[in-house]
Amino acid sequence: MSSNLYTYGVIEKESIELDERGVDGGTPIRTVDYRTLSAVVSDIDTMEPERTDENARAHDEVLREVLLYDGGRTIVPMQFGMTFKSGRTLKSVLRGGRRAFRQALNDVDGMIELGVKLVADEGADLDREAIREDVGGRLAEVSARETDDDLYSDRLVLNRAYLVERDGEEAFGDAVEAIREDYGETLRVQYNGPWAPYNFVDIEIGAQGR
């Protein structure tokens, strides 16, 4: 029975139906409303979908589709695996968390997330601090917010996510291109996105007393 719902994210109230295949192949992608909010969902049999590469890609691709298709819209993304028992439990959470969802939608209104990494060769002799300052400064000028560096490898000189106005993607791309021209000889410049603004929303909802 497909009575469970897999949720991808929350948008301003809008009726959406996409033929795309979601997590566990669920289709169509559709919306469940509560007042001024809509959750983007697909039907699913289980409450615990497997974290396969295919499911991970499906979750992300549905979000990107909602973020971009038909002119695009703002979406606040769910973490992977947020399944609900029914439309009623989903609406109950939309109701209880509506302030936080509304606030998050306002925070990232009209925005997309873009990622930039600068990767050095093994053992390269570089003034990393100076590069971070220059590149970070140039990208800060064409973005609204940024995350701290996530330097999980010694080869990473810079690794940040940026929150950028939808209309500002081209200017951001110009800045990345200029950085590649200036640093491309010594560093690999990785530019990825657009993403739903995963790095710029943080909401946790729980049921007390359980």
Binding site: D53, K85, T89, G96, E146, E170, Y198, D202, E204
Partner: protein
Amino acid sequence: MASERPGSSSLADVLDRILDKGIVIDIWARISVVGIEILTVEARVVAASVDTFLHYAAEISKIEQATQSGDFEDLQDLEIKQSPAMRAQSQ
């Protein structure tokens, strides 16, 4: 010079985001219909300035108190503004 388009995303980039970030809702809230009085809502602004965070923290705690006392509906006028620091950053 053409504006550069982002490249395709690697699986590692996807996993880094979808497994660690985004809205988290615990299993109890997802399987049972619960009243708002027993839902806990924590919301933080990520990577904003400290000022903005403190401002949000104060507003969010108002929401949480109201949630716990059950008069959530009375907070229709609650407004969370961007701090000057955040606006300056977004210029």
